[in-house]
Structure formats: structure tokens, C-alpha cells
């Protein structure tokens, strides 16, 4: 049953604090806001995501929870206006916002927090059953910080009774099963991330819901009977984040690789679904995650958002925001996921990004082979060695990053490159978005050393079949190719290795509202 109105909207009580110290203290909070005591019953609120959030902040030393009362949440207010306010039994139109701190904060300090309160982030609690967790941004756990994982984090400014705070982490939200389902929350996570990066304007969850074309389904919109993938693509279009769509059974085969053979199911002797074995899933998805763009995957009747990845020995572990689980879930393997086999991948991107990551990577792979032969013909042993290593050496890797031209040109000065190269690259005529492809020495990168041997910058507004390469930095020489047939410029350099642009960007902190135009 929804909480009584007067419990949530007392106008005289702004906030209060709790100092949960024991398991019982945290369980009490979970029961109050997540309905944990009713777990298993039809009235249970599905407390798992909130349980996970409490576990995350607790592991990071949370000692104070500030409960901000009568919080007007933009998303909840939008949902309330179009859906919840039309029910016979009304929930309150307000939420509560929980703020987590490592320092002990007293009630009389809420209006004037200490200098370094140890802010871990916040979680909006909706006053409804079956999905209490609204907008949430929590600091990453320790094992995913300081370069241990690649995450699509945001900087989220928060004002708490005049105190300026910043939550830094991935965005998360839970479905309520009636109005918002997993499709809405997974899209919202990608949208909120793009909003906080300054790529799109803010849209509420109700806006998002209304963008679902009703004529594309035979199911009712209220209560939601689910959303089709076609409908999801329409929502991305409405958000100005048109998504690149991949069917996992038909993933691309970059230059120099062969399409894998599907293993047969021993019982049916038919090929197993690609979502149970095709390792190309990792390279397709990681290209975008490494660029800070969340990726949505759909499996058995469920969608979830991948927000990062990390290496675990030879394995890659995706990091997910699944609305049924909570933020920062580490997925052992997509092939054994509880919703396997995954069948679809959505990558919401800025509208001007027309070239897929694997198109750029495949094309540059072929270019490297060509430049290697050029090196043989022109006595350039460094380029010959580069091309050979790029194709054959396990210690050399081609990585690609999608970034705004403005960010690339800002960061290029921090890579330890020749000043004349920096000048040439900064003055190069580039489109708004570029793929930056780096040939990296794996060992040097793992040791935190400058690791890039060569770089290619690709025009994302060109074509998958023949991506335009705007700049090329080979061992000893850089070449920029202007658009519209402009004169090619070359210049020598003597920097054998420079820092990866991804490492320079990581060192500058989470993706802030950027200078990138759309």
C-alpha cells in the first residue's frame, strides 16, 4: 500500500539524518523504503536494486544518510501528472531523496555541511509499490575506480539546502512495472548520461514514455505491456540520440578476421543462438563503452544498460545498470547471463555519427597493412614494424574512441606529443565527431607508460564503406588531409610513444557537460 500522504509531505520537516551502523540499521532503512520485509509477496516493492545501492554505499564507508523530504523530482512529477494522479488511490506527488555521506553529519548541520562531507551520491525514492528507486547516481565501488574499469560516468551537480555537492557515477533508475518498464529505464539511463555530458537537453521520463509510438503495437500503453525494439528506436530518435542497432546473430566481420562458426546444440544439432557464443559482442560493445556511451542490450524479454567494462585476466566483464539488479552489476559473461541469449544491441549516439566503430577499425586495419608495404618500398622500417605488429603481435592492439573534435583537440596537448604535431592536429579541419584510432603497445599501457605508436583520426560523418581518414600519425611523420581537396600537409616528429587519449581523458575526471556541439 502506498504511504499515507501526510507521511511524505509534511511541509515543516525539510530533512533528517540517520546514522546506520549495523546490519539491522540498514535493513530497517531497506524495509522502510524498499519493502524488504514483504519480499516474495505480491506487495513487495522489489527491493533488490535498493539493497544493492545500500551495499555499495556501505562498502564505501557511508555513515550518514540524509533524507530530504518532500523532494520535487522532475521525473516522478511527470509520471505522476500523466499516470499516477489518475488512479483512485493516489500516492503522494513528492519523492524523498536519500543522500549518502562518509562523514557523520548531525541534523543541525544539514543546512551547512562540513567542508569535506564525503558525498557518495543520491537516490530518489518514489512513493509507489514495485519499483521505488528513481534517479540515482552513486560513486563507483573501489574495484572500479582509478582506471580499474572503464565507466560511462557523469558529473551530477546537486543542491542540498544551499550546499553545492557533486555526485559522480553512472546513472540508474528502476522500472515501476506499470508505467515505466525496462525499455524506458534503460533508455533513460542512456539519455541522462547524454544530458549530463551536454549532448542533449533534459527530457522527463513521461516525455520518454510519450515518444513510444502507440500505433506500432497491439498492446495497451497503460499498464505497459512492454515495448518493442522498433518502438525503442523511435524513442531514441525523439531524444536526438538515434541508435546504431546490431542484431547479435549478424555481427560485422572486420578486415583481417574471419566470421566465427556457430557451435551446434548437441540436442537439436542446430546452430546455437549467437548470443550464447559470439565473442564479437565484446569488441562491438566495448568500442562505445570506452568512449563513454552506454549501450543497451536486449535478451529474453528484458533490456538493460551496459555502462562500462573491465578486464579480469583474459576475460572482459561488462558492468551493467539492470533495473532488476541495481547499479554497477558486474556480468560474468553475456553467454551465461540470466537473460541470455542476448539478441540485440542499441548504441544511442549523436545524430552526426554515421560511421560505426568497427567500420573505422576495419578500414584502418587495412590501411595499416598498406602503409606497411609503403614502408617496405620506401625504406621505413618503423612503419613496416608497426604494420606487422598491429596485425600479428598480441602485444599490440588497435583501440578506437569516439569523441568530440573539441575534446580531441583539447586533450592532444596532454599526450606528450611534439609541439609542432599538436599545432598541426589542432589546426586540422575536423568534423564535430571523430573516431580516434590508436595502435597501442599493450605492455606499456598496462605499466602506465606512453603507449601509442600510431594514430588515425576518422571523419564520423563519412561512410561505413569507405570512412574518410582526416589525420594519420605514423612513426616519424604526421599527415593531415583537409576536406574538399585541400592541400595535404605532412610534418616529421620524433616521438616514438605518446600517452593514449583515453588515459588523458580519464585523468581529467568523469565526462562533464562538454563543449561538444551536436
Amino acid at each position: 500500500m502506498a504511504p499515507a500522504l501526510q507521511d511524505w509531505v509534511s511541509p515543516s520537516l525539510a530533512a533528517w539524518v540517520k546514522h546506520p551502523d549495523t546490519d539491522a540499521d540498514w535493513e530497517s532503512l531497506l524495509e522502510e523504503y524498499g519493502g524488504a520485509a514483504l519480499e516474495g509477496s505480491p506487495d513487495a516493492k522489489r527491493p533488490e536494486p535498493l539493497r544493492r545501492i545500500f551495499g555499495l554505499v556501505r562498502d564505501q564507508g557511508c555513515r550518514t544518510v540524509v533524507i530530504e523530504n518532500r523532494y520535487i523530482d522532475l521525473d516522478w512529477r511527470s509520471e505522476y501528472s500523466v499516470f499516477w494522479s489518475r488512479r483512485f488511490e493516489l500516492p503522494p506527488p513528492f519523492t524523498r531523496r536519500l543522500h549518502f555521506f562518509t562523514e557523520i553529519i548531525a541534523d543541525d548541520q544539514i543546512h551547512s555541511l562540513p567542508e569535506a562531507p564525503g558525498y557518495l551520491g543520491y537516490c530518489v525514492i518514489r512513493p509507489i509499490p514495485w519499483g521505488p528507486v528513481g534517479r540515482t547516481v552513486i560513486t563507483p565501488p573501489h574495484n572500479m575506480r582509478d582506471g580499474k574499469a572503464v565507466l560511462a560516468t557523469v558529473r551530477d551537480p546537486v543542491s542540498l539546502f544551499g550546499n553545492d555537492l557533486v555526485a559522480e557515477g553512472v546513472a540508474f533508475c528502476q522500472q515501476d512495472t506499470q508505467y515505466l518498464v525496462c525499455a524506458h529505464t534503460s533508455v533513460w539511463i542512456a539519455h541522462y548520461t547524454a544530458y549530463r555530458r551536454g549532448l542533449v537537453g533534459r527530457r522527463s521520463t513521461a516525455d520518454l514514455f510519450e515518444m513510444v509510438p502507440k500505433h506500432l503495437s497491439h498492446k495497451r500503453t497503460h499498464p505497459s505491456g512492454g515495448v518493442s525494439l522498433l518502438q525503442m528506436q523511435a524513442v531514441f530518435g525523439g531524444l536526438e540520440q538515434p541508435a546504431i542497432f546490431y542484431g547479435i546473430k549478424n555481427l560485422p566481420t572486420p578486415f583481417g578476421t574471419k566470421p566465427p562458426q556457430a557451435p551446434l546444440d548437441p540436442d537439436t544439432l542446430k546452430p546455437k543462438p549467437a548470443g550464447l557464443w559470439d565473442e564479437r559482442i565484446f569488441s562491438v560493445i566495448c568500442r562505445y563503452l570506452s568512449s563513454g556511451f552506454p549501450v543497451i542490450v536486449a535478451g529474453e524479454e528484458h533490456a538493460l544498460t551496459l555502462v562500462g567494462w573491465r578486464r579480469d585476466g583474459e576475460e572482459i566483464r561488462f558492468i551493467a545498470c539492470d533495473d532488476q539488479v541495481g547499479p554497477y552489476e558486474e556480468i560474468d559473461s553475456p553467454f551465461t547471463h540470466y537473460r541470455a541469449p542476448w539478441h540485440s544491441i542499441f548504441v544511442p549516439l549523436p545524430p552526426r555519427v554515421l560511421v560505426a566503430g568497427e567500420a573505422a577499425e576495419s578500414f584502418v586495419g587495412a590501411e595499416l597493412r598498406g602503409w606497411g608495404r609503403w614502408g617496405e618500398a620506401n625504406g621505413d622500417e618503423h612503419t613496416v614494424s608497426l604494420a606487422h605488429d598491429a596485425e600479428h603481435s598480441p602485444d599490440t592492439r588497435l583501440e578506437c574512441y569516439l569523441m568530440a573534435n573539441a575534446d580531441y583537440k583539447r586533450l592532444v596537448a596532454q599526450q606528450g606529443r611534439d609541439p609542432s604535431v599538436v599545432r598541426q592536429l589542432r589546426l586540422a579541419r575536423l568534423p564535430h565527431w571523430v573516431w580516434v584510432l590508436e595502435v597501442q603497445d599493450v605492455g606499456r599501457r598496462q605499466r602506465g607508460q606512453p603507449c601509442v605508436r600510431a594514430e588515425f583520426v576518422c571523419d564520423t560523418s563519412s561512410h561505413d564503406r569507405s570512412p574518410r581518414i582526416a589525420t594519420r600519425t605514423l612513426p616519424g611523420g604526421v599527415m593531415t588531409s583537409p576536406p574538399d581537396g585541400g592541400p595535404i600537409e605532412t610534418a616529421p616528429h620524433d616521438t616514438p610513444y605518446w600517452t593514449s587519449i583515453a588515459d588523458v581523458r580519464e585523468a581529467s575526471g568523469p565526462f562533464a557537460a562538454g563543449t561538444a556541439p551536436r
Binding site: S228, Q233, F363, G370, N378
Partner: protein, 55 residues
């Protein structure tokens, strides 16, 4: 790189094929197929998976 090598690099860059001129016909066909597979990966998928629902 020497001045001569830089000049050669620019000469390659000015040609229509660029560095791809150093690939043989089979390799260029392999590249064309690889790039086409990227295009096909997106075209075919939507028709099959688009109707699937998530909730």
C-alpha cells in the same frame, strides 16, 4: 622520417586509393566485403529483431 619519405607519404595521400594501392585485388575485395558486412549488420537486423518486446 626523412624529407623524401614525408614527400612520398603525401604523394600516397593525394591518390584516390591512398595506402590501399599497396593491397592486391584479393585484399581490396576482402576489405570491401568487411565494410559491407558492417552495413549489412545493421540493415538485416532491424527487420528480424524489431518486433521483439522487452519489459
Amino acid at each position: 622520417m626523412s624529407t623524401q619519405q614525408l614527400q612520398s607519404m603525401a604523394d600516397v595521400g593525394r591518390t584516390q586509393l591512398g595506402a590501399m594501392q599497396y593491397l592486391d585485388a584479393n585484399e581490396r575485395r576482402e576489405l570491401a566485403e568487411a565494410q559491407q558486412s558492417v552495413v549489412d549488420a545493421r540493415r538485416g537486423a532491424e527487420a528480424d529483431e524489431g518486433h521483439l518486446r522487452v519489459h
